[in-house]
């Protein structure tokens, strides 16, 4: 009797266990199972929106140092990384025959100076001759009037005076010409000297050499850089912001800069300039962010992540951004009222840095919305509210 009883009960127990497990399996895997969700309440809170973008460290002032005319590099005095001061000789171009031309114009000028002397001497000689001629002409004129000499003699002496005067004029012109010649040659020499000085590439401002693009002996064309300089104190970050998420961008916003080389360190900065033009191809806005304190050994071209802090919105209606869903082309949230679910279209505003989003229209404080769910939700979904989804 006992054995039969135990046998039967064992069998029944096993059957119940099997059926229980079966029911559990059906409830777990089938559409019968209610889906787990996490809900949150719409509440009023301060929302601190933030903009995020990536940027590249650039120099606000950078200089390309190169010759103004084609030539060969003769000497490069500095190397990449060297700090230079304004006016420092950085490189020199090969003058080729410029020095020779300089000394040739010098010699020519000297000769011109001599030519001035000669002309001056000729002038004084011709002046002397004119004085004699003038005295003779006066005397014969008097004699001619008294009739001592014939009029033809008088006319001859007068003619001599005119000739002497003309010679003076010619000598004066010769002197002026010699002086102009000298001025021309001086100017020419000055030009050559300046050209010579232009071959010496000097630092236009204090800065750091960032590139040495040509070595001695190489030929560069006019405008090609031999060296590149940047002003070390003018580094800033060129920030690119997605147009979609650039609302509120303005000069003076505080920025948090994280350099790729120092992922753990947040550097303070500020938006220094906002460019009017945005990149229409990449659909990004561009702004420059300057460092409050320039870090040492930051490298140009280094990538950085920048978070801009916008002024907080006081007492905004907020909810977690994960609650927003797209349904039939509308943005909205699932609102739970008792056991009923309804999709409510909302107008989202700014997003906070903490993942919350401002709701401008559609909800009121205290509304309970579904944030996380295991599956897509519909009006007919059966839900069970949990504090954390098992899957996560």
């Amino acid at each position: 009797m006992k054995t039969l009883f135990s046998r039967r009960s064992a069998f029944i127990l096993a059957g119940i266990a099997l059926l229980g497990a079966f029911a559990w399996g059906m409830a777990r895997s089938g559409p019968l199972a209610p889906q787990q969700v996490i809900v949150a309440q719409v509440q009023r809170a301060d929302l601190a929106p933030a903009l995020f973008g990536i940027g590249v460290v650039e120099a606000r002032r950078s200089y390309l140092v190169g010759p103004t005319s084609a030539g060969r590099v003769r000497r490069v005095a500095v190397d990449v990384g060297e700090t230079v001061t304004a006016g420092q000789l950085l490189a020199e171009m090969d003058p080729v025959d410029l020095d020779q031309r300089l000394s040739a114009t010098g010699a020519a000028a000297a000769r011109a100076a001599k030519a001035i002397d000669t002309a001056a001497a000729q002038l004084s000689d011709s002046l002397a001759r004119r004085e004699v001629a003038a005295a003779n002409a006066r005397r014969y004129d008097d004699l001619g009037k008294k009739g001592f000499v014939s009029s033809s003699v008088t006319e001859g002496k007068s003619q001599e005076l005119k000739s002497a005067s003309a010679q003076v004029a010619a000598a004066e012109a010769g002197l002026a010409g010699a002086r102009q010649d000298l001025a021309r040659l001086d100017a020419e020499r000055e030009g050559a000297r300046q050209q010579r000085a232009n071959l010496r590439l000097l630092a236009p401002a204090d800065g750091v050499v960032t590139a040495r693009d040509a070595e001695p002996g190489s030929t560069v064309v006019a405008g090609q850089a031999v060296l590149r300089l940047v002003a070390a104190d003018s580094l800033w970050v060129r920030l690119r912001l997605d147009q979609q998420r650039a609302a509120g961008l303005q000069v003076g916003l505080p920025a948090e800069i994280v350099l790729r080389s120092r992922p753990g360190q947040v550097l303070a900065g500020r938006v220094a300039r906002v460019e009017m033009l945005s990149d229409s191809v990449t659909e990004e806005r561009i702004a420059q962010v300057s460092f409050d304190a320039l870090p040492l050994d930051v490298s140009i071209g280094e990538m950085s992540e920048i978070t801009l802090r916008l002024p907080a919105i006081r007492q905004a209606l907020v909810l977690p951004s994960a609650a927003l869903r797209q349904r039939e082309g509308k943005t909205g949230v699932w609102v739970r009222a008792g056991d009923k679910l309804s999709f409510v279209a909302v107008k989202p505003g700014s997003s906070g840095a903490d993942g919350r989003v401002q709701i401008l229209e559609g909800l009121k404080a205290g509304d309970e919305v579904i944030v996380h769910s295991e599956r897509e939700i519909g009006e007919q979904s059966r839900i069970r509210v949990v504090s954390a989804l098992t899957a996560s």
């Binding site: 069998f11 895997s29 996490i38 993942g355 769910s373």
Partner: protein
């Protein structure tokens, strides 16, 4: 009248249940196999559903973006957006790759999407949506990534800010969602060595590095590194428009291929997983035959063990109907236990599979019918043997 089958089962229930469990595991394997197939189809379906699109615009003459490679310029969407009937159009990229998290690697499909546009995951199980335009990721829970973890895709680290569920590629790889621009870069970015080698190659080309044209080389290098391609444009049509008509319009005027949801399903289900489906179908058929054979053998053996009892039963006047009923009931009972055990075991081990296994209740119901049918068929063999037993055998040993 008492139930002979029930009494027999009760008498040797241990053996019976053990046999049922053994059979159940086999049925569980069969159910799982069906679940694997359903899972593959479902993977394809959720891939399409999750993208939230009505039309997929891809490179002309391709069946992209899931079944074939497709590249289109990323400004194409603007033209598509302007067509009548189009409500939303968004670029999207898909790239299957290995993603690193610490020392661990996961095979994932990286999806580049634009927030608020088609292609965005519809719901999250944890965390938040992408907030920044860069370096944030939403991962499927199957990747094993957790909130706050940093994962590496190509050369950038991304922070996992949200988790989603059941977002997989048609191959079952879990998805990782990142901003479109990052994805574009990741998809076409070469490794550093390749970039440097490319630059050197360009510099060595006299046509691209002319001595008299400063800046040309830089311009060429810059042009080479910029990528302006995406894999597809996802289109959502206006409430009043029919996807097929809009797709036709796109094909005609934009010289691109456009697929509607039905066509995409056709590509994914009928073409992409057709071979696997046949493979599984074969396996399913074999498993069914094996299960049927095993049930038949078990019932047959059980009946042969009772030949003498059956002879006595016949001798003392038990009807054939009762004896056949006993065997049939036992077979069905065995099938029922097997089915229940199979369903439970399949439910238990299905989540452990690396790819999604979808156990449909409809399939379970079909399986129950098949199991019962197979058990009935299998029991006929034993019933024939039992009916052939001569009651005279009980007399005179």
């Amino acid at each position: 009248m008492i139930s002979l089958a029930g009494r027999d089962i009760l008498h040797s229930w241990g053996k019976f249940v053990l046999t049922g469990i053994g059979l159940g595991l086999l049925i569980g394997a069969t159910l799982t196999m069906a679940g694997v197939y359903r899972g593959m189809v479902d993977d394809a379906q959720v891939l399409l559903s999750n993208s939230g699109a009505d039309i997929w615009v891809v490179q002309k003459d391709t069946q992209g973006p899931y079944a074939e490679a497709s590249n289109i310029k990323d400004d194409v969407y603007r033209g598509v957006r302007g067509l009548p009937g189009v409500a939303q159009a968004a670029n999207v990229t898909y790239l299957t790759m290995q993603v690193q998290q610490g020392t661990r690697e996961s095979r994932v499909m990286v999806v580049g999407f634009e927030p608020g546009q088609p292609g965005e995951p519809g719901y999250l199980v944890a965390g938040r949506r992408l907030l920044r335009g860069h370096f944030e990721a939403i991962a499927d829970v199957k990747t094993g990534f957790r909130l706050g973890e940093r994962i590496r895709i190509r050369r950038h680290d991304y922070e996992v800010v949200g988790l989603t569920q059941r977002t997989v590629s048609s191959g079952g790889d879990p998805m990782v969602f990142i901003p479109l621009k990052d994805a574009q870069e990741a998809q076409f970015l070469k490794d550093n060595d390749a970039i440097i080698a490319d630059r050197a190659r360009t510099a060595a080309n006299p046509a691209l590095n002319r001595p008299g044209v400063p800046g040309l080389l830089d311009a060429v290098n810059a042009a080479q590194t910029v990528n302006r391609s995406v894999n597809a444009v996802l289109v959502k049509v206006d409430a009043g428009a029919t996807p097929a008509a809009v797709a036709q319009e796109i094909r005609r005027w934009k010289h691109l291929q456009a697929y509607t949801r039905e066509q995409m399903e056709e590509i994914l289900v009928a073409k992409l997983i057709a071979t696997s489906a046949k493979q599984i179908g074969m396996f399913l058929a074999i498993l069914t035959v094996v299960s049927a054979a095993i049930v038949a053998f078990i019932i047959y053996t059980m009946t042969l063990g009772k030949i003498r009892e059956i002879a006595v039963l016949k001798l003392i006047g038990t009807r054939n109907r009762s004896i056949a009923g006993m065997i049939l009931q036992q077979a069905l009972g065995l099938g029922l236990i097997g089915f229940v055990v199979g369903k439970i075991s399949a439910t238990l081990w299905a989540p452990a599979f690396p790819k999604y296994v979808l156990l449909e209740n409809g399939d379970a119901l079909r399986a129950l019918v098949v199991v019962m049918l197979v058990c009935t068929l299998a029991s006929t063999l034993a019933i024939r043997a039992a009916l052939k037993v001569d009651p005279a055998e009980a007399i005179g040993g």
